[in-house]
Amino acid sequence: MPAISLSKAPQPASTDPAQIRNFCIIAHIDHGKSTLADRMLGITEVVDPRHMREQYLDRMDIERERGITIKSQAVRLPWRSGIDGGEYILNMIDTPGHVDFTYEVSRSLAASEGAILLVDCAQGIEAQTLANLYLAMENNLKIIPVLNKIDLPAAQPEKFAAELAKLIGCEPSDCLRVSGKTGEGVADLLDQIVAQIPAPQGDANAPARALIFDSVYDVYRGVVTYVRVVDGHLSSRDQIQMFSTGVRHEMLEVGVISPEPVPSKGLGVGEVGYLITGVKDVRQSRVGDTVTNFNNPTKHPLAGYKDPKPMVFSGLYPLDGADYPLLREALDKLQLNDAALVYEPESSAALGFGFRCGFLGLLHMEIVRERLERESNLSLISTAPNVVYNVKLDDGKTLIVTNPSEFPEGKIQSVEEPIVRSTILAPSEFIGAIMELCQSRRGVLLGMDYLSEDRVEIRYTLPLAEIVFDFFDKLKSSTRGYASLDYEAIGDAEGELVKVDILLQGEAVDAFSAIVHRDKAYAYGLMMTAKLRELIPRQQFEVPIQAAIGSRIIARENIRAIRKDVLAKCYGGDISRKRKLLEKQKEGKKRMKMVGRVEVPQEAFIAALATDADIEKAKAARK
């Protein structure tokens, strides 16, 4: 049997680096990474078949349900090579699969010597996978191309083998073929990992240097920090130090994941494992930082630590104002586990008290919101997402604007907005639709390449602001779901940007203000005023709805005064029903928000802030 029992396998802290192989798996959502990982756990016998369950490594409900991995993990798998018969330790380092977490992906890659490029051979490679593949290649990782799901009837292994070969410069015959579902080809894949991926290199006698590639908050243990030791040695008796902060921590536990945590004496060169120091907040143990020994610290940190910067901002408000303290608690709790999440309190005349939150990207935003709602049982409203603007004033000062309400009135010299380089992969029949969409979003075409006969890679620069507003949904709907998107920030550029305010009876409603390109201001104004005219019930007086840039009105609608609001009949049998309706309306009235004298039902705010995609989702949920 190629599996080796854990007790007989080489032990942590005393494994020769030559016996170690560190690898990660690069794959798109749905391409079967978790299933393949499950098979590896089974075949190496680190998980008893009786305890096996699907997506074993995905801890959060949300990961399992959405089929995506948010936080990465590392599992130590003992393996006897079927080729040379030697004993090896394979460390599988799981990577988040999404563009928003590129930085975390890059840290996972930095902890590995090789990467499995896993592609569903019924779908082909996706844009985000491609981006991560390029990252891996830049990191000089050995790439093993693997076609998954060969058991599917729709599998086209020849076609996609050719595509992968072209991308990484190998022969189509070099692509391994596996089925995570049936286990076919998985043992061969493990042998190839041993054969092809280089063993880690490091100086065992140098001061300890270990890279943090993940940091997870656990309610019972505090922060669990995942590290890859590069040089030296970390032992359970050490005091350690974080290079970026200089803070000293007691080591409470060190160990490996196999796939449950197993404490060990320490970790040596090339090994991957976890540390527990009693820290309660992941921001004190940040991804990318270097861990060293407090008594014998290194002078040279490992490359690449940076603070992840939020790119997208949105206001999050509890539907029920009384839930504000609960939302604060929930955010505090979430931040323990998500160093990239930033937030500060803000208040909106329309929505009450809430938080302006900063996210790495749209998916990050969605996940945070979903986790807040699910784990803390909150109902939230979010304002339209926006990006960070650098506003230069006439007096030379620069203002950083993360909220349309902070956008200064007049006296603006210029406004800069973040620009991204985006890559879209799609079947070539959708080229026209994609180009049309990108052009309408102020995109500039950079280039286009055919990956295979009928699949194409299209590159555009786009203002990030155009992407954060329902671009992805539009892209999906105009390509029948086939297109995939990846983007990376490439800097800021000046844009003709203005703030459009929406006024009800002359009073601006902060939640609806938006910073948009001058050419689109009119369309935004028309869209919002028309939407609100439908959503706001008639009042006892006429209510003008206006869209304005500064003091200039660019669109206007009117809600006529109500003339009739009475039920004609109220006899014996109607009284209870009518009183119950009145009680319901009383409750509804309490949830009304006042904008000046205008009563606006909360549903109107929610509906006005919803995108077309939200509405589709809500419809689907009702079905």
């Binding site: 006892q540 003339r563 109220c570 049998g573 009145l582």
Partner: protein, 380 residues
Amino acid sequence: MSALSFYVHIPYCVKRCGYCDFNTYTPNELREGASLQTVSGDYIDAVLQELEVAKVEATGTVPTIFFGGGTPSLLPAKDLGRVISAIKERWGLTPECEITLEANPDSVDQEKLSQFREAGFNRISFGMQSVKPHVLKVLDRTHNPESVARVVHDAKSAGFQSVSLDLIYGTPGESLDDWRASVEAALSLPIDHLSAYALIVESGTKLAAQIKRGDLSMPDDDLMADMYLLVNELCEAVGLSWYELSNWSKAGHESQHNIAYWKNADWWGLGPGAHSHVQGVRWWNVKHPNLYKENLRNGISIVHDRELLTQSQHQDEAIMLSIRLREGISHKDLTEIQKKRAIGYVTTGHLSDSGWKSGRVQLTPQGRLIADRIVRELVV
């Protein structure tokens, strides 16, 4: 306890009208192929049985009885008369006791009207709805518009003290001129009382389905408002004074039974689905006539559900009901905050200025159009 009024529900119709969601059934719905005679034969017996077991000891005599439905005029006068007699026997009737019959113009003639008079009825209310055939068609009404004039005269000569007509406005396809024609036709007859109801589209009706499909569309609220103001103006011009949101009458011909509802008096509703309100408790009977009969036969309670109102629910209800009346609400019955809210509506012309000065909250015609909104503002 206050005087006790009675409502008697007659849950039968020859045909269900497209807009109607009342608790009424055609004979065929109750038993396939059955005649009205067979399904209603033992119904009055059941009502009398409910009356017999009624645990209520009214101190005074009964001031009003109202037979509604359904189409009460479908049943033989002597059967309805048995109910009147039973009430009279147990509690006695006031000398001026108002006994009302709801009637379909097609279901009565001179002879039948005389029989109803003999049975004790002194007030009759005919469902006229409209004089325009295209409006009646949308409403699914079967009666011939010409027969209304005939039955009003017949009722008068049979000796009914009060004759009332019901009209409906805001039917899909009805213009302001159509409506004017209907109101004028009604007012040209020797009536004492008129009810005019805005059409309410109740879910589950044929009309609701037609609107949902887009076959019909409801007139907008502004037209409905104009229709209301028109009927009010035309009634007042011929001496029918407004006394409740949807009701106008000659002096002394206000419906005492309905006023009992709006003044939160006590009443007992007999029959399936009928609501009662006695000493602060509201309850309602099981809905289906068959179940109602069966439960009574088997000695099982026919009460479907009940509610005991809290003090604040009771106050809200009182405001909701009494604001509908000409007398309105006394300042004494409002809190200081409610009065403060109300005074805003005096300024906007929705509440009568002179009424306010005499210590009452009374709706103007403009105010009546938004009465529900004013109630919401007051009770919130």
